[in-house]
Amino acid sequence: MKKNICLGIALVAGCLVLAPQSAVADEVKSLRGNIDIEAPSLPPEVEELIPDQKPIKRDYVKQPPLIPHKIDGYTMNAHYNKCLSCHSWANYKLAGATKISPSHFVDRNGNELANLAPRRYFCTQCHVVQTDAVPLVENTFKPVPALQK
């Protein structure tokens, strides 16, 4: 019992000693920024989608190509995939679009399928649209020389 009390006192003392360090915690910025709890937080700036540009160069081998156009309101459900109305093998020529890769016709056991593999159906799982947002952190990644211009 005495031991426990001693331990308790030691813990409290330890906390008091470490207390000045909580000033460090003050410097940690919350996601809301340095805004008083009572004050309403600032609304985030609306990032605009880049409407339309030429195909974006890949930065590494097997990178899912980025989407170089808007996809607002595109249907992607069990009944239809709007992306495929241009990018499927049946449609890409007429639409002048990039066709989906043959890798998309293979299931996870390596079997070749007659149509797009269901695991590849939801395009935006890998392919993403681009906004004009400034990157939050600097990125020093450089493509391998073979992919550089």
Binding site: D52, G73, Y80, L84, S85, A90, N91, G96, N115
Partner: protein, 201 residues
């Protein structure tokens, strides 16, 4: 025979002995005016969005879907309502469409699309009917706002420009590409199996 002359048909055929020609013409004129204004008023009242969505079939399905699209809200705030796209401006095709709407009344009574599920079951059939109609009239209602002659291709995005010029060259019409822009698309397996999950090609 003389008995028959007192029949209603013969009475109708006999010249009036009581009313003057001017009086009869006046009655006819006023009556015609009332009927015509009633007809035009009805035509006008049934060509509004509020009339369309007074039925739950339209309000709960296609209207709700349309509310998420640019034809409902856009940056410039120009809105196209149901009749802007689905009803002709010109008098004759407008009346023809109104006459064809009798079938819609019949199916309203029968409850053919009374639930979301039933609506879904008939969506392909209904969509194909509208597509065929728009294809046949060269997307007339689209073009009453989106006039190809007034389009500045240079101001369009890269892809839109290429597609619009090619579409014009091939004699395509708006609905050939712009399907499902204001409402959900039906199951497209039969239309384009290459764009539907699990479809057999």
């Amino acid at each position: 025979m003389s008995d028959n002359s007192k029949g209603w048909w013969d009475r109708l055929r006999r010249p009036s002995t009581r009313f003057s020609v001017l009086g009869l013409l006046g009655i006819g004129f006023v009556g015609g005016l009332v009927a015509l204004s009633g007809f035009l008023g009805e035509l006008h009242a049934t060509a509004t969005e509020s009339f369309c969505i007074s039925c739950h079939e339209m309000r709960d399905n296609v209207y709700m879907e349309y509310k998420n699209t640019p034809h409902f809200s856009s940056k410039s705030g120009v809105r196209a309502t149901c009749p802007d796209c689905h009803l002709a401006r010109a008098f004759v095709p407008k009346v023809a469409r109104k006459a064809a709407a009798v079938r819609e009344v019949i199916h309203k009574v029968k409850g053919t699309i009374a639930t979301r599920e039933k609506f879904g079951n008939h969506r392909l059939e209904m969509a194909q009917r509208v597509w065929a109609e728009m294809k046949a009239n060269d997307s007339r209602e689209c073009r009453s706002c989106h006039d190809a002659k007034a389009m500045d291709y240079a101001k369009q995005s890269r892809r839109a420009r290429l597609q619009h010029i090619r579409g014009d060259d091939q004699g395509l019409t708006c609905i050939d590409c712009h399907k499902g822009i204001a409402h959900q698309l039906p199951d497209m397996q039969q239309i384009d199996p290459s764009a539907v999950i699990g479809a057999q090609q």
